[in-house]
Structure formats: structure tokens, C-alpha cells
Symmetry: C2
Subunit: 129 residues, 2 copies
């Protein structure tokens, strides 16, 4: 096994000046509680808590057009990015501290590879060889 990965959730990217209003809409639309995040993180992200699943869901304030993007968590980000490149995805943005990488699918959607964080990672992740 070289590394492991799985879908961990999605981020609702909103081009807005009012993160609070965006999070309130999505929280009420999906019937999920909103949870403020501390300090700098809280200026860009609000967590939505899904009591039906382990999904990690956040509303994010962004400058690009609004969209929904999927997050894949991995125990080795670089190995996962290379695996996805071999399937045809492209590396778009790499954060300086290498805690996430933005990629683009051959079909055009942006998505992220992030560090493993879900409690179900060990039992649920796919093993890649």
C-alpha cells in the first residue's frame, strides 16, 4: 500500500461579501446547524454539521464564481495528487504548507486534496498500491 484516501465531504464556495448570510441560507436549506470557526478561519469558513453522516461540509467565502467542490482526504497528499494526475487530473494550486492542493478533473470540476481528518478514515479509506 502506497497510501490511502477517501471522499471526506464538500465545500460550498460562495462569491459573497456576507459569509454569515450565505451560511445561514445553506444551513436552513439543508437543515444543518452552522458552527462558527475560530479566528482567521472564521473569516472565510462556516461549518455545517450533518447529523446524518460524517461528511465534512463548510460554506466558504470566495472571489471566484460560486460552486460546490468535493474534498478528498489522504494520508499522503503528494502521493494522492500523483495518483489523480495519472487518472488525468491537473494540479492547479498548491498551498505553501502543503496541507491542501486544488486540482481540476478531466471533466472540468475543481476539487481539493486535503489531509486526512475524519474519524472514519482508517475503516473507510481506499488503499492504493
Amino acid at each position: 500500500v502506497t497510501h490511502r484516501s477517501k471522499l471526506c465531504g464538500f465545500i460550498i464556495d460562495c462569491r459573497t461579501d456576507d459569509l454569515g448570510a450565505a451560511a445561514e441560507f445553506w444551513g436552513r436549506a439543508l437543515g444543518m446547524e452552522t458552527r462558527a470557526l475560530p479566528a482567521e478561519e472564521g473569516e472565510k469558513y462556516v461549518r455545517l454539521v450533518d447529523r446524518n453522516s460524517e461528511l465534512h461540509i463548510e460554506v466558504q467565502k470566495v472571489d471566484h464564481p460560486s460552486r460546490v467542490h468535493l474534498d478528498i482526504e489522504a494520508d499522503d497528499i503528494e502521493a494522492e495528487v500523483r495518483r489523480l494526475e495519472s487518472l488525468g487530473a491537473r494540479r492547479i494550486v498548491q498551498q505553501h504548507s502543503h496541507t491542501w492542493v486544488v486540482m481540476e478533473a478531466p471533466t472540468g470540476q475543481r476539487f481539493c486534496v486535503v489531509r486526512k481528518s475524519s474519524t472514519g478514515f482508517d475503516s473507510g479509506a481506499n488503499e492504493w498500491r
Copy 2:
């Protein structure tokens, strides 16, 4: 209680002539098995099976730009659409047989309201009054 609803999953909309290649990429990227659907449905949709959750995930062949859209399932589609309109969403497309409605969030993302279908609906859905 007027009706109930919950997030049921998401659809990976792909602007492509090759639904099979799109589904193969996403299935391998997310580590999920692909499942062909019968007849007409199979010309536009491939199911991805997430063994970690009850999420309903499909890859869809579309003519509009590629994106990911969320699906909300409801036991009364019209009541759910009206609830979402009261939160600021707009009705965009209504299928003739009323089995789904495309909406747009105030933050710009398209999403769908569909008929309840998940096995966890009764225990997991939000109740609206």
C-alpha cells in the same frame, strides 16, 4: 409538520460526449464502484456507490458547464420548493412530471429538489412546520 427533507447526495455534472470515461475518472478518483443504470437513464447517468455512506452519487452527462450539484430529497417537492423560495432560492426548471425541480441558491449555485428515496429518510429528515 408540513413536510420533511434532507440532503440526499450530489450529482457530478460533466459536459462530455463520453459519459463512460467521465464516470470511470470519478469512480477511480473517489474510490467508488460504478454501476450502470438501465435503458434511457443509463444514457445520461452512471451511479457511484459510496460504501461509507448513504449518499446518492451519480455522474451525469450534461450540455451546460461541468459542476457538482447537491440534491435535497423531500416527501413533498412543492412544499420544499416553497420553503426554499422563502429562504431566497429561485425555481429554475420544473420537470413535467414534477419528480424534480432545479433551483438556484441566493449565492448562485444550482441544486435540485427530488423525491425522497434514501432508506434513512424517515430517521434522518428534517421536519418543517
